[in-house]
């Protein structure tokens, strides 16, 4: 079984060369992730905001209290 597998799937070259420097691509990735991280709002923040709006709609008298604590 081992021999069959080795025959079917040859070993990779030990000195497989990296075709290009990956640092520029790495920098792009870091920039993307950083801007994505800054722009995205966690789901629980949306849930909290939604809950507050719903609560204010159900009990409008609490709106000044909510605004006071914001």
């Amino acid at each position: 079984m081992t021999l069959l597998l080795k025959s079917a799937i040859p070993r990779m070259d030990d000195d497989a060369d990296l075709p290009r420097d990956l640092w520029p691509a790495m920098l792009r990735r870091m920039d993307e992730e950083t801007s994505r991280g800054a722009a995205s709002v966690p789901w629980f923040d949306w849930a909290l905001a939604g809950g507050l709006v719903a609560f204010a709609a159900i009990v409008p008298r609490t709106i000044p209290v909510i605004l006071y604590y914001l």
Partner: protein
Amino acid sequence: MQMRDEAGSVLDKFRQGDVDAFETLFRTHQRAVFGWVLRIVREPGAAEDVTIEAFWRIHRAHARFDPERGFEPWARRIATHAALDWLRRKKPESSVPAQMWENLPAPHASDAAVAAEIRQKTVSAFGRLPAKLRVAALLAVVEERPHKEVAEALGITVAAVKLRVFRALRLLRKDLNRMGITP
């Protein structure tokens, strides 16, 4: 002595989140990480993407890095998991494209005896194995890496590597038997 101090200083700076130190480590280790990832994903384009993903994970995890344990084994472990995730995301049928294997360097002389159809079916059956078994078999059997090295890269024990390889070969044999091939 001075070089060792410099390396230690780079690792310490990296641990503190210094991007220049990260760049130094990236440039030093990108080739080794790419080579390791290529052994698992076996597609140069995908290996580049996985290498970048691995280094991104390394960058994010800088605070958890332990300079005592060395950068390379840690990076290799993260890269192995990134490659595993890539294999899991790929559909089983397309995960080991037969054409791609044929483009690889010429196999050993004894391989000439193996019929093309059997090779093709073996490659397809191997591609249907669960990713974690496939990686263990690829590294330990195909690439002939020491079990200890594979265990460190996967973050499991040597016994677990042997078990995964055993299970991979057993499943492969079963699948091939179903296709009428008796290895």
